[in-house]
C-alpha cells in the first residue's frame, strides 16, 4: 500500500506539524488530523489485530464505526483504552498503541490463532469446554479474552456533569442538521446543535457539491460562524449524543480539550429533537474482505477530501450501488489510478457514465483478495463466470447504507425495512422527535437539506414560535433515492467477515442457522455478533440479511436486535462525574469534631456520620480503650457528643393524636416537660425505630430517632400525614442539625454540670429521670434532657451547634477533678448491652415485631396504631418466635461470639436462637450478651449449648444484667 498525503487541500493546518508515536515508532502529522488519517498519511497499513483470530487489520472506516483501529492512549493511570483511531484528534506527543496484540500490531504472537482458525468457529468454547465443567476452563479463557487493559490505579482525570434544557435539540451537523439548525435558530428558537467531530459540516467537508451557489464546505463554515454568534444557539462540537431516554431526555458526552476536565456528561431535556445522525456505509461480505487496504468507499473518500490523504495509489472499487462512483472521480483527480470498478449490478446509469469516462468497469463480484501484509490485488468473477485478478493496493467497498437510527430506536421508535434502498429506516415516532436526511433513509444532498429544514419549520410551528419564512437551501443534485441491488454475501472459498471487530464470518452465521440459532437474538449471543465495542455498527444489517438468506426469510422477517445506550463506548467515570472518592458519599461531621480529633478519637462512620469509636491513649488497644471508657462511666463520669441523634419536631392541634397512631405506645398521656421511650413499627408490625419523645408544649413534641434513621423517620411521618391522614392538623419539622448535643453520664454527671454552671435546679427531686428542662448550661442556652443510654444518671445538653465546642470545653474543665472521660461508640454499645437496651437493626432484624421484645401491653391500647393489625396475625403471635433475651456464659467467662447460634444441650438440627450483642463487662468482670431465642422469655434460666466451637454453655437471662432496679439511673 502506498498511501500518501496530497500536496494541498483538506481541513488540516500544514503550518502546525505534530509528532506522535504508534506502537513505539515516531511519525508526523498535522493539526486537524485524526490519529487514523495521520497513520494513513504515513502509509501505516496495519493498525490492529482482530479480536479472536488476531488477523492483521487496517483502517476500514473514518468515523465512529471503525471496527479495527482500537487504541490505548497515554501511559500509567491516565491511560484510555479501546479508543477508535478515527476519533482521536492528533496532538503533539500523542502516544498510541494497538490494543489486541503483543508485542505490536505488525508482529503479533497471538496470530497463531489464525492458523487454527478453522478449528475455532462460533460456539467452539461452549462445545469444547463442557467437561469436566465450564467453570474449570473459564478463568483461562477469560484471561485470553478482552480488549485493552485499563490501568488499575485511580483515574487522575476530572469529569463534569451538566443539565440543560432547550427548545430544539439537533443531533448531527451534516447537511440535514445544519439546515435544521439554520431554520430553527433563524426562527428564534433556543437551539442546541450537537456534532461529534471538531468541525461542523459532516459529509459537506469532503464529498463536494454546492449549496446556494457556494461550495458546500464554505456554506457549512459560514453557517457555523453564524450559529456561534447566535446567543440562543449552543453549538457543542466533539460531542456525541449517546442515549435517548424517556420524555425527550438525551445523554451527551462532550470531549474537552486543553483542560483538566476530560469529559462532560450532559443530560439535555428538549421540547423537540431532530435526529440528523447520518448513515453508516456497509462493508461487502466477500472472501478476504478484511485485508489491510480494504476500506469503506466513504472512508477512502473522506480521508481524501477532509484530510488530503490518498489511501493507496491504485484503487479498485467494489460496489452494489451508485454512491461510490463519486469517489472514482475524486481519487483520479488526486493523482491515483482507478484499477477497476467492480459493480455487482448488471446495469445502472452510473455504470454507463463511468464507461463513457473511460473507466474499467467489471460487472461482477470480488471473490478473493491477495497480499502479504496488505492488499496486492483482488480476484474478480464477472457475470459470465470468468475470473481474473486485478492488481491494486487499495479497495473501496460499498454494500449500501444504514441510516444511523440508534437514537431513534432508543427513543422507542419503530423501524421498517425499505426494500428498494435495502436498509432499515425510521418508521413511527413515539417521542417528540423527527429523523431527517440520511438518518431517515433520505439519501442525497437535496433530500438532506429539505428534510432538515422542514423538520425545523414544523417544530417551530408546534412550539408556536412565529417567524418570517426562511428560504430552503438549494443543492444541485436531484435528490434521488439510493440505487442499489442488494448483495449480502459473495459465495466463495475463504473467510468473509461480517463483524470485523468480533471476528464473525458469514460461515459462522450459516453454522448458527444450522444449529437452530435462527432468531437474531440467538445469533447475536451464539456468535457474539454485534457485541464488541462497536456494537455491530457496520455488521448488524449484513448479518440479519445473511441469516435471512440462510433461513429463507426476508430481512424484515428476521428483524433486528435492540439499539442500546450508549451509542459509542463511554468511560464509567463520565457518568460518575465528580461524585467519586470523597465526594461519592460525603460524610457528615459533628459540630464538636475538632475537639474529638484533638483528644485522639478513632473515627468511624455510623449512619453517614463520623463519630469517635474510642479515644485511644498511648499503648492502648481499641479494646483497652473501650474497657477504660466504659468503667469510667460506671465509676465516675463519661462525656460524649450525640449531636447525630435524630430530632423531629411534631407540632399542631392534632400532634398528640398523630403520635398515638405512629408509636406502638401512647404519647398523648405524656405531660409537658416529660419524656417517654417509644417504639415505632411499620405496617408489618416490625420494629423500625426506637427513641425518646418529649412533650415540649401541649401541641408540640420532639421525636427522637436513632442517628441513622433520622431522615427515614421524618419521611415516614410525612407520608402518613400527607397520604393517609391529611385531615390531621400537624406539621413535621426535622431539626436534627439545628441542635448539637453533649451528654454527661455517670455518678458524677450532676457534679460536673453544676461545676460548669447551670441556672436551673438539677437535683434528682426537681429534675427527675425522663424529663427535660430549658435553661442556661455551661454558658449556652440549652434544653437538657434526663434520658440515659448507659443506665447511669445522664444529662443530654442540647445547645445550638455553634455552642458545642464551648460547652464541651467547659464540661471537660469542670469534670477534670472527677476524671471525666470522653467515651466512644464502642464503650456506649457495651454499656447499653449491660443494661439490656435494645439496638434496632443490631438486636432486631426485619422480622422482629413488638411482641418479640416483650411489648405485649401495646395490644391493650384502645386505639389503632401503625402495625397493630399485623400483630394480631397468628404468625406474629406464634409461640416459637425469636424473642429478645439476655445471655450469660455459665462459666462466667469472657464475651460470647456475636452471631453464634444456640441449641438445646447435645441437640443438633434447627437453631434455638443466636447472640446479637456481646462484650466483656468491666464492672461485672464477665461477658454480657443479648440475643434472640425461640420463646426465650418463657425459658429464663434454661441452659443451652453455644455453637461457636468453644463448647461453652449459656444461660438465658433478663436482658438487663446490671442495676436491674434502676437505682443508678434515677440517681
Amino acid at each position: 500500500m502506498k498511501s500518501a498525503r496530497l500536496a494541498e487541500g483538506g481541513d488540516i493546518d500544514r503550518a502546525r506539524r505534530l509528532s506522535f508515536t504508534f506502537d513505539g515508532a515516531t511519525f508526523d502529522g498535522f493539526a486537524g488530523d485524526t490519529l487514523a488519517s495521520a497513520l494513513l498519511a504515513n502509509d501505516v497499513a496495519i493498525v490492529g489485530r482482530s479480536f479472536k483470530y488476531h488477523r492483521p487489520r487496517g483502517l476500514m472506516a473514518a468515523g465512529v464505526e471503525e471496527p479495527n483501529a482500537l487504541m490505548a492512549v497515554g501511559e500509567g493511570p491516565g491511560t484510555e483504552v479501546n479508543l477508535r483511531a478515527t476519533e482521536i484528534e492528533l496532538t503533539q506527543g500523542l502516544a498510541a498503541r494497538a490494543v489486541n496484540c503483543w508485542p505490536n500490531a505488525r508482529f503479533d504472537v497471538g496470530a497463531v490463532n489464525n492458523l487454527i482458525a478453522r478449528f475455532i468457529p462460533a460456539g467452539f468454547y461452549y462445545k469444547t469446554f463442557m467437561r469436566p465443567d465450564w467453570g474449570f476452563f473459564e478463568p483461562f479463557i477469560r484471561r485470553a479474552a478482552g480488549l485493552g487493559k485499563p490501568s488499575a490505579e485511580a483515574d487522575p482525570d476530572q469529569y463534569d456533569a451538566l443539565y440543560a434544557h432547550t427548545d430544539i435539540l439537533i443531533v448531527g451537523a451534516g447537511p440535514a442538521g445544519l439546515a435544521a439548525a439554520r431554520a430553527a435558530a433563524g426562527g428564534g428558537a433556543r437551539v442546541m446543535l450537537v456534532e461529534q467531530d471538531p468541525l461542523l459540516g459532516g459529509s459537506l467537508r469532503w464529498r463536494g457539491g454546492e449549496i446556494d451557489g457556494a461550495p458546500a464546505k464554505e456554506w457549512a463554515d459560514e453557517l457555523s460562524r453564524g450559529l456561534r454568534m447566535d446567543e440562543e444557539a449552543r453549538v457543542l462540537t466533539r460531542t456525541t449524543a449517546v442515549g435517548y431516554f424517556d420524555h425527550n431526555e438525551l445523554a451527551l458526552i462532550e470531549r474537552l480539550v486543553d483542560r483538566d476536565t476530560r469529559l462532560r456528561f450532559w443530560r439535555v431535556r428538549a421540547k423537540k429533537v431532530i435526529l440528523a445522525c447520518g448513515a453508516i456505509e456497509r462493508p461487502l461480505v466477500f472472501a478476504g474482505n478484511d485485508r489491510p487496504g480494504i476500506m469503506l468507499a466513504s472512508a477512502v473518500h473522506r480521508y481524501l477530501g477532509q484530510f488530503a490523504v490518498r489511501a493507496g495509489e491504485r484503487l479498485a472499487i467494489f460496489t452494489n450501488n451508485d454512491s461510490a462512483y463519486a469517489l472514482a472521480r475524486d481519487y483520479a483527480a488526486a493523482g491515483g489510478d482507478i484499477a477497476a470498478i467492480i459493480d455487482h449490478r448488471r446495469d445502472s446509469p452510473a455504470i454507463d457514465h463511468a464507461l463513457e469516462a473511460g473507466l474499467n468497469v467489471v460487472t461482477g463480484d470480488a471473490i478473493a483478495t491477495g497480499g502479504a501484509s496488505s492488499l496486492s490485488g483482488v480476484t474478480v468473477r464477472d457475470k459470465q463466470g470468468r475470473e481474473r485478478r486485478i492488481a491494486c493496493d487499495a479497495l473501496a467497498m460499498s454494500g449500501g447504507w444504514s441510516p444511523s437510527a440508534h437514537l431513534f430506536k432508543q427513543s422507542g421508535g419503530a423501524l421498517r425495512w425499505d426494500d428498494a434502498q435495502a436498509c432499515l429506516r425510521p418508521d413511527r415516532s413515539v417521542q417528540a422527535e423527527r429523523s431527517v436526511g440520511a438518518a431517515n433513509g433520505d439519501f442525497g444532498l437535496r433530500a438532506a437539506l429539505s428534510g432538515g429544514h422542514e423538520a425545523a419549520v414544523a417544530a417551530l410551528g408546534e412550539l408556536a414560535i412565529k417567524t418570517a419564512p426562511i428560504a430552503l437551501p438549494r443543492a444541485a443534485d436531484k435528490g434521488d433515492r439510493l440505487k442499489i441491488s442488494p448483495l449480502w454475501r459473495v459465495r466463495a472459498k475463504g473467510k468473509a467477515f461480517v463483524d470485523f471487530q468480533n471476528d464473525v464470518t458469514a460461515d459462522d452465521i450459516d453454522l448458527s442457522a444450522r444449529e437452530g440459532y435462527v432468531s437474531i437474538e440467538h445469533l447475536k449471543r451464539y456468535t457474539t455478533l454485534g457485541m464488541a465495542p462497536d456494537q455491530g455498527k457496520t455488521a448488524n444489517v449484513n448479518a440479519l440479511a445473511i441469516m435471512g438468506e440462510a433461513t429463507g426469510r426476508t430481512p424484515a422477517e428476521v428483524g433486528t436486535t435492540g439499539y442500546r445506550f450508549p451509542f459509542t463506548p463511554v468511560p464509567i467515570a463520565a457518568f460518575a462525574g465528580f461524585q467519586r472518592g470523597r465526594l461519592f458519599h460525603p460524610t457528615r461531621r459533628m459540630p464538636g469534631h475538632a475537639a474529638h480529633e484533638a483528644l485522639g478519637a478513632v473515627f468511624e462512620e455510623y449512619g453517614g456520620w463520623l463519630r469517635p469509636a474510642c479515644y485511644r491513649r498511648a499503648g492502648e488497644t481499641p479494646h483497652d480503650a473501650e474497657q477504660r471508657e466504659a468503667l469510667a462511666v460506671r465509676t465516675s463520669a463519661g462525656i460524649f457528643e450525640s449531636s447525630t441523634l435524630g430530632k423531629i419536631e411534631v407540632k399542631g392541634p392534632d400532634a398528640a393524636e398523630f403520635l398515638d397512631r405512629i408509636y406502638a405506645n401512647t404519647m398523648s398521656t405524656l405531660s409537658v416537660g416529660k419524656v417517654r421511650y417509644g417504639v415505632m413499627l411499620n405496617e408489618y408490625g416490625v420494629i423500625v425505630d426506637d427513641g425518646v419523645c418529649a412533650r415540649l408544649a401541649d401541641d408540640c413534641f420532639l421525636v427522637g430517632t436513632s442517628s441513622s434513621a433520622a431522615e427515614k423517620i421524618a419521611f415516614t411521618l410525612e407520608e402518613w400525614l400527607q397520604c393517609e391522614w391529611p385531615d390531621l392538623a400537624v406539621i413535621v419539622a426535622p431539626v436534627t442539625t439545628a441542635w448539637g448535643v453533649v451528654t454527661l453520664t455517670g455518678p458524677h454527671a450532676r457534679d460536673i454540670l453544676l461545676g460548669a454552671g447551670v441556672d436551673i435546679d438539677i437535683s434528682a427531686e426537681a429534675f427527675p429521670h425522663m424529663s427535660f428542662r430549658a435553661g442556661k448550661a455551661a454558658g449556652a442556652e440549652a434544653r437538657i434532657f434526663r434520658v440515659s443510654f448507659t443506665g447511669e444518671t445522664s444529662f443530654e445538653v442540647n445547645v445550638p451547634p455553634a455552642a458545642v465546642e464551648g460547652v464541651w470545653a467547659k464540661l471537660m474543665a469542670a469534670g477534670k477533678a472527677f476524671g471525666v472521660t470522653p467515651v466512644g461508640i464502642d464503650a456506649l454499645m457495651l454499656l447499653r448491652a449491660e443494661k439490656g437496651y435494645l439496638h434496632i437493626g443490631g438486636d432486631t432484624d426485619g422480622t422482629t415485631n413488638a411482641l418479640d421484645i416483650g411489648w405485649d401491653h401495646v395490644l391493650k391500647r384502645k386505639s389503632d396504631f401503625v402495625g397493630r393489625r399485623s400483630l394480631l396475625r397468628p404468625a406474629d403471635q406464634a409461640r416459637d418466635r425469636f424473642q429478645f433475651v439476655g445471655l450469660e456464659g455459665v462459666d462466667g467467662g469472657g464475651a460470647l461470639s456475636i452471631g453464634a447460634h444456640v441449641r438445646k444441650i447435645g441437640a443438633t438440627g434447627e437453631t434455638e436462637g443466636y447472640v446479637t450483642s456481646s462484650g466483656f463487662s468491666p464492672i461485672l468482670k464477665r461477658g454480657v450478651a443479648l440475643g434472640m431465642v425461640k420463646a426465650g422469655r418463657l425459658r429464663k434460666g434454661e441452659i443451652l449449648d453455644l455453637q461457636d466451637g468453644s463448647k461453652r454453655r449459656v444461660r438465658i437471662t433478663d436482658p438487663c444484667q446490671y442495676d436491674p432496679e434502676g437505682a443508678r439511673l434515677h440517681g
Partner: protein, 91 residues
C-alpha cells in the same frame, strides 16, 4: 428519565423524585379480616397500561402527589394532588 410536573414546583427530572407505588389503596380498619389485611399489605396492581401511583418530590417540596402513568410508554397523562379526585379513566 421521566419529566414529572410536580404540582408545587413544576416540571422536574425524575432523579428528584421517588416513587411510592400504587396509589388510592384504602387502609383497612383494625377489625378487618386477615385476608383483607394481607391484600392491603402485599397485593398491588401491575397493569400494562395506565397506573395510578404516588410520587414524592424528595429534592424539592417533599410533598406527595399522584401520577397517572402509562407503564408501556411512560407517558404521564395526569398529575394530581393527594386531595384531588383521580382522573376519569382513559377512553
Amino acid at each position: 428519565m421521566l419529566l414529572i410536573n410536580c404540582p408545587w414546583c413544576g416540571p422536574r427530572g425524575e432523579h428528584e423524585f421517588s416513587c411510592g407505588g400504587e396509589s388510592h389503596i384504602a387502609r383497612p380498619a383494625l377489625a378487618s379480616t386477615d385476608a383483607e389485611w394481607s391484600d392491603y399489605l402485599y397485593f398491588r396492581k401491575n397493569p400494562k397500561g395506565e397506573h395510578l401511583e404516588r410520587w414524592r418530590h424528595d429534592f424539592g417540596c417533599r410533598q406527595w402527589f399522584n401520577v397517572a402513568r402509562d407503564t408501556r410508554t411512560h407517558a404521564i397523562r395526569a398529575v394530581y394532588r393527594m386531595d384531588e379526585q383521580k382522573p376519569e379513566p382513559e377512553r
